[in-house]
Symmetry: C2
Subunit: 186 residues, 2 copies
């Protein structure tokens, strides 16, 4: 049983990192709190005149590598590994790849160990990656092929209106996976 | 029709770059010429006492991004794209990912254009990537899954003993692909 885990928003807390960086650089400019996000794309939830400085923040050196883990994600990773699931981290780099790609590996090394960097798959098109499940907060994942995985939506404020997909978070994941995959034996 | 192209050894001339760097740094220490390579793994073709300095060369900043293209590779890429094939570059980063990963994107941007960086898939396990064909100089590609692609072996001195796979290079590729895929209509 092979499970793909998205990195940003599922393992690495992009939103928390962004809000901390914003608060540090622009303490007097209020932006929507995470719970008021409505779009998967951060920039779309910001007024146009703030987008350039927002982009500069999340593409700056150290932003990706210093993201905090999503609460519960590291514990879930270890539990899933010990249950015998084959895990891969499946991540789409920012189009501004310059700092992002190496830092995605650094983040994995820091939080999951150097060996886990071999479990990272970087691709702009996740439909090309074969697996049983993809756990991802992106409400709509499209690409060149019909995916082999079932998309299990990782709960986020900006995907609450999506229907027709199972939802998961790092509190309820054991029950959700048991329902998805008949893993009662684990 | 989706074709995966390996990066090092198929698009980027790792061997040529390595021999140029070696010649520059160690002009008085002779190493086997490319045509005498017998292992896919460069280090295995070097005497043990030279491996550490070889590794230092190919993991150094700028090594990957400055690799020359394999002769004919860029022309073949453009021709394949204009024929309507869906192309992806499927590459396994060095375990020493630090300089390698961003430089793989830089190489693609430099030789194929910035948009083509979205066609790059980095993975230690190529069996997870769905495609019709994988063009790769690695004689044996294994991983967690049975691949959906047919492996077409990109000709190299170190894979000449491999039997049972179709062979391709950037001189004969049109004929080989026509034979593999009935693409006579192109």
């Amino acid at each position: 049983m092979l499970i793909l885990l998205d990195q940003d928003g599922v393992l690495a807390d992009f939103d928390a990192g962004f809000h901390a960086a914003w608060q540090q650089h622009y303490p007097h400019t209020v932006i929507p709190a995470r719970e008021h996000r409505r779009s998967f794309y951060l920039l779309e939830d910001l007024p146009p005149h703030l987008r350039e400085q927002a982009e500069a923040l999340y593409t700056s050196p150290g932003f990706i590598s210093n993201l905090p883990p999503v609460p519960g994600a590291l514990e879930a990773w270890q539990a899933l590994e010990s249950m015998g699931f084959t895990l891969r981290i499946c991540s789409t780099p920012l189009q501004q790849y310059e700092n992002c790609v190496a830092e995605k590996y650094q983040w994995v090394e820091k939080h999951l160990g150097r060996a886990a960097t071999r479990q990272l798959v970087l691709t702009a098109d996740k439909t090309l990656v074969a697996a049983d499940l993809l756990i991802d907060d992106n409400p709509e994942i499209t690409g060149a092929r019909a995916p082999t995985w079932e998309h299990v939506l990782f709960d986020a404020p900006y995907n609450q209106t999506v229907v027709g997909k199972k939802r998961i978070n790092w509190q309820n994941w054991r029950g959700v996976l048991a329902g998805v995959m008949y893993v009662g034996e684990y």
